[in-house]
């Protein structure tokens, strides 16, 4: 797997990358222009510079990891509540026992939270202070 196709290091033609558009998950292409600026373009027309692509990929990681935390924590409470319901109404076929999975999912959620806590997104200070998408910055 590669992100930048070797051919983009030479020439100025558009080449398919090995990564996806952060806006629509479409095939992402890359092109060198000017003094060597890399411009990323996808099949429907989303366009990004290098730092915008990095910001978007970092945002995707952040969003998806929290979604994973939420999925684990939802599974824990769902299994717990189904256990209570099953015991009250004798519906053992949905009630478990799921204690091992509850313990494991709770542990995994905590470990992903710990990763989120220690995660340090790529520092773009040297690339022109693109700390947030431009739309949020003016007016």
């Amino acid at each position: 797997m590669y992100a930048l196709p070797p051919a983009v290091f030479e020439g100025h033609e558009r080449h398919v990358t090995g990564i996806s558009c952060p806006e629509c998950a479409g095939v992402l292409e890359v092109q060198r222009e000017g003094h060597g600026n890399l411009r990323f373009l996808c099949c429907v027309g989303h366009t990004l510079s290098v730092d915008e692509l990095l910001v978007a990929k970092e945002d995707k990681i952040e969003t998806d990891m929290w979604a994973t935390v939420r999925a684990h924590e939802e599974l824990v409470v769902l299994l717990q509540d189904l256990g209570v319901y099953a015991r009250r109404h004798g519906r053992t076929q949905i009630g478990g026992p799921h204690d091992d999975r509850i313990t494991q999912a709770r542990d995994h959620a905590q470990r992903i939270r710990a990763i989120l806590d220690e995660k340090r997104p790529v520092d773009l200070s040297g690339m022109g202070d693109l700390a947030a998408p431009p739309a949020s910055l003016s007016l």
Binding site: E23, N37, G45, T47, L48, E52, L130, A135, L137, S138
Partner: protein, 208 residues
């Protein structure tokens, strides 16, 4: 750099301007320096939230001598008028008209500067002057490159004057811009270019 500036000594009558953070103040100052009835079409894109109405034509028009309007899509382009897209829409110059588009976001934003610069370069070629002002991010830089490639002129705000220098700095780093100027210098250069005179004036500076 400057050797290429008056290569055709022709009138440049399509002025496209892009700005991001710090842009309201910079655009207000720039537009205030353009004379009423300027014989040029002006397009202005400022990054802003798609969720909040900014009444940008009113804000930018308060101190401007030229007309500042939000066009309806398909309006004929007229000289002496500055066109500003509404929030969440790209502005595109094509076939002598202003078009509004909710096409794909570029550089994570809409309106973006590149669609205006790119479409103006395709439609008007060497008649276009591209101006990139204060801001963050990579928008506008590919557009300036396309304007220059089509025979137009690229002007960039002096990063030392810009409240957010990253965008003009990037334009200077990524391509051979024609001039790096203060806002007052950009206004003077626009008037010179529109009237078919060379760009060079006493405000010119070499990129930092």
């Amino acid at each position: 750099m400057s050797g290429a500036i008056d290569r055709n000594a022709r009138a440049r009558d399509v002025i496209t301007v892009g700005a991001s953070a710090g842009g309201v103040q910079a655009l207000t100052q720039l537009l205030a320096k353009l004379p009423a009835g300027l014989p040029a079409i002006v397009g202005v894109v400022l990054h802003r939230s798609p969720h909040i109405e900014s009444r940008l034509p009113f804000v930018l028009g308060r101190r401007a001598a030229i007309k500042v309007v939000e066009p309806a899509s398909g309006d004929l382009l007229e000289q002496g008028v500055a066109y500003v897209p509404p929030r969440d829409q790209h502005l595109i110059f094509q076939d002598g008209r202003a078009y509004l588009s909710r096409g794909p976001r570029e550089h994570l934003t809409r309106p973006a500067i590149d669609p205006l610069f790119r479409s103006a370069a395709a439609a008007f070629g060497p008649r276009v002057v591209g101006v990139l002002l204060t801001g963050y991010g990579g928008d506008g830089v590919p557009g300036l490159i396309s304007i220059k490639a089509a025979g137009g002129i690229s002007l960039v705000q002096d990063p030392r004057e810009a409240t957010h220098p990253a965008m003009p700095q990037r334009a200077i780093a990524e391509d051979d811009v024609d001039a790096v100027l203060t806002l007052d210098g950009i206004a003077a250069a626009i008037v010179n270019l529109v009237e078919g005179r060379p760009l060079r004036g006493e405000h010119d500076e070499v990129p930092a």
